[in-house]
Symmetry: C2
Amino acid sequence: MAKKDKEFVKEITPQSEDYSQWYLDVILKAQMMDYSPVKGCMVIRPYGFTLWENMQQGLDRRIKETGHRNAYFPLFIPESLLQKEADHVEGFAPEVAWVTHGGNEKLAERLVVRPTSETIICEMYSRWIQSYRDLPVLINQWCNVVRWEKVTRPFLRTSEFLWQEGHTAHRNEEDAQEETLKMLEVYRDFVENDLAVPVVTGQKTDNEKFAGALRTYSIEALMSDGKALQAGTSHNLGEHFAKVFDITYLDSDGELKYVWQTSWGVSTRLVGAIIMVHGDDRGLVMPPKVAPTQVILVPIAPKKVREEVLPKVAAIYEDLKATGVRIEMDDREEYSPGWKFNEWEMKGVPLRIEIGPRDLENGQAILARRDNGEKETVSLVDLKERINTLLAEIQSNMFAKAVAFREENTHRTDDYEEFKKIIEEKRGFVISRWCGNSECEQAIKEETKATIRCIPFNQEEKPGPCLRCGGTSDRLAYFARAY
Amino acid sequence: MAKKDKEFVKEITPQSEDYSQWYLDVILKAQMMDYSPVKGCMVIRPYGFTLWENMQQGLDRRIKETGHRNAYFPLFIPESLLQKEADHVEGFAPEVAWVTHGGNEKLAERLVVRPTSETIICEMYSRWIQSYRDLPVLINQWCNVVRWEKVTRPFLRTSEFLWQEGHTAHRNEEDAQEETLKMLEVYRDFVENDLAVPVVTGQKTDNEKFAGALRTYSIEALMSDGKALQAGTSHNLGEHFAKVFDITYLDSDGELKYVWQTSWGVSTRLVGAIIMVHGDDRGLVMPPKVAPTQVILVPIAPKKVREEVLPKVAAIYEDLKATGVRIEMDDREEYSPGWKFNEWEMKGVPLRIEIGPRDLENGQAILARRDNGEKETVSLVDLKERINTLLAEIQSNMFAKAVAFREENTHRTDDYEEFKKIIEEKRGFVISRWCGNSECEQAIKEETKATIRCIPFNQEEKPGPCLRCGGTSDRLAYFARAY
C-alpha cells in the first residue's frame, strides 16, 4: 500500500531557507491540520482544533460581556438575496459555491453557500425590528463559511473556514460607529492579550473596505517574515443594507427610520498568525493562554527504576491537573526523554517538567521554558505556584518579543525610493504619508506589491507631501506586503 | 409596509386542540426560532441558541471526559467518496444538496454538502492510521449538516441542522462494540440528567439501522402527545467502511488488519424533545440545568416607589448573579408585573423571584416555580441557598414527571387487535413480542403506522408468539408512532 509509505513526520525546513515551506512543515508535523480530498479545504486535526476552541472561549466571553448573544442562521442564501446590495454581490459573487440540486431535483432558485451572512441576516432583521424598543440588536454567529479561492494556504486562506460574524442594528450613526470601534477594540484586546500577537488598529481605504460597507476598520499584525496579516475587521455598514432590505423602525419621535448596522469577524486565520508570529525553527510556540497543552510532564524513568518512579510522578501529575492547568504526562515507554523533549518543543508546549529518580529524592523538579529555553530547578512544594507564575511570564514575554520585533521592523519614510528599498529588502511595516487618492494607492501596489494596511487612528504629524505623488497629505498610512 | 403588520406574538393553541400548532406557536412566540427564506432551513434565535449552547457544554464535557477530542472536517464531500460504501450512498444520495459550481466555473466533480461525515473522515483515517499504536482514534466534530428533506418541522426535521458526530477507530470488534455502547450510555446520561428527558435504550432493527452500519443503537423518548422521538444514535460500523476506504493497521502480531469503527450523533432535534416533553399550554418549561435563563427577577415597583425599590432589588440581583446562577432582571417600565409573569412563564424560566416594597421591608422575596406553580416566601438571607435547592428540585421533579408520564403510557400486549387499538387511541409505547422477521415489522408499520423504536437490552420474559404472525418470538420490542 503506497499510502502507508507516506512519511508525515519530516524535518522542518529552516525559516531562513524557505519560510513558506517552514510554515507547511510545522503545521503538518505538529498535526495542526492535514490536506483534504476537497481542493482548498483542510482538515483541522485535534491539536489545531483544541487551540481554536481555546481561542473561541476567550473571544466568546468578550463578545458576551459586551452584550451580544449567539444565534444561528442558514448555511444557504437564495441567489436573489445575495444580489440585493450591489457592491456586496459584486464583491462576493465571483467566489461563491453554488448549490443547484437538492436530492435528484433541480432547484427553482440557485443557493449560495454563505461567504458571509449579511444578506440573510438583514432579511430576518427586517422582520424582527419594528420599534426603537427593539434596538440595538446585538447578535453573533460562530459558523463555517465558503469562498471559492484560487490560491489557498492552510489557515490563512482556505475555501472553507471557521469564523464568528457579529451583526448588529442600531438607531443611528453614532451608536453604530461606537459599536464598530468597540468590537475592533475587543479584537485588539483578545489578540494582544490571549494570543500575544501585537496589532496596529486603523481604518481601511475605500479600495480595501468590505463589499457593501460604509467604513471598514482592521487589526493588522506583522508576521516574522516581515509580511502583514489582516487579523480581524469591523465594519460600519451605514444604512446601505437597511435601505435594500427595508429594515426600518418607528422611532420615539414617531418617525419611520432606517437602522444603522455593523458587522465584524475574525476567523481560523488567527491560528496562522499565532504560528507565524511565535514559531521558530524548532516548531510552534504556543501562547499559554490558548495552548492546547500548557505543561508537558516527562517522567525520566530508566527501565530499572520505572516501577518506582512512575507512580510518584503520576501522583504529582494528578495533583497538578486538579488545579485546572492544561497538563499532560508523556510516559510512553517506546521513546527516549530526548525524543519527547523535541516532539513537545515542536508542538510548542510552553512549559516542560522533567522529574527523575534523583529529583524525587531531592523533592524537586526541573522546569524548561519553550519561549527562551531557560531551565530551572524548583522544589515540589512550590511547583504549582511556580507553574502559574511562569505561564504568566511566558505569555507576557512572548508578547514583548513580538512587540520588539514589530518595532524593529516598522520604518518611517516619505521617500519613495527608500520606501521601495525597505519593502523589497527588509519588509515590515512602512509608515508613509499618503494623499488619499486611490490612484496613488494602486500605483504603489503595482510598483512595490505593498498595500495600505490601514490608516492608524493616531495621526500625530503635520501634513506633508504624499509618498508617491508629492501632493498634500494629511494622513500617515501603514504600508506592507501582506498575506 | 405589510411585513411590519405581521403579528408574531399570538396566543398559544392548546395542546389538546392541535398539538402540532401548539408546538409551532410556542417556539415562535418564545423566539426559539424563525422560518428563513430558504425552504426547510430555520433560524435559531438567541433564546433557542443559548439553550443549544448550554446543551453542547454538558455533552461536550462528557465526550471529552471519555477521551475524545474535537476536530473539524470539510463541509464538502466529493461525489466519488460518497459512493464508495454501497449501503451508505443508497441511504444518503437521494437527500443531499449538490454543489456544481465554484465562482463562475463548473466543477470537474460534483460535491455533496455533508449529510454526515463518515466518508470524508474514513478517507483521512486511512492516511493517519498505520499501526496498532495509533489506535484507538477518538474524534468528535460539532458542525452543520444538510439533508434535503421534503417535509420539515422546526428542530425535529430541518434541511440543515446542527449536531455532533463522533467517529472512532479500534483494533477489534470488542473495542468497537464497547465504544458504541459507552457512547449510547453517555447520551442516556446526558439526556436524562441534563434535559430531564427519560429514554429507552436498545438496538435498532435492520430496517431502521444507519446506512452502512453493522448495528445501530438508539435512545428513544416519548413526547407528551404519545409519539416517540429518536433522540440519539450510536453505530457499530464494523469493518464495512474500513474495507472500502482501506483503513488498515499493522497489529502487534505483525499482521495487517482492518480497523473496526463506530459513529454516533445527537442534534438540535433534542431541542424539540425538551419542548415536547416538558411544555404545556402556557408555553415552554426549561430544565434548570440547560435553561438559558434559570431565574427571572421581577421587581414589583409601582411608579411612586420605583426610585426607592429598584436600586435595592438591583443590588440583590447583582449579588445573586455573582454566585453564577443564570439570572435576569426584568425592570421594564412599559409592562405590568402580570404581563411579565406570563411572558417569562411562556419562555419556560424555571424560577421567578418577585420583590416589592413590602417584601423589602420584611426582608423577604416570593419565589414561584414554573414546573408546578407553587409559590413560597423566603427570607432574603436564605435566598441564594433556596434558589440552588429549588433549581435542583425542579430538575428532578421534571424528570420524575416525565418518567411517570412514560410509565403511564407504556403498554404491554401481544394481542394485535389490542395493540392496534392502543396505537390508534392512546398512543405511547407498546411493548410486544416480535419474531425478528422484517416482513412482520413492515406489515405492522403499514397497518398501524407504528414502528419498532428499539429492541431493549432488558429482555426478561420467556419466548412466546409474535404479535402479528404468531410465530415464535424470543424478543420484546418497543413499538410507537414516531416523529
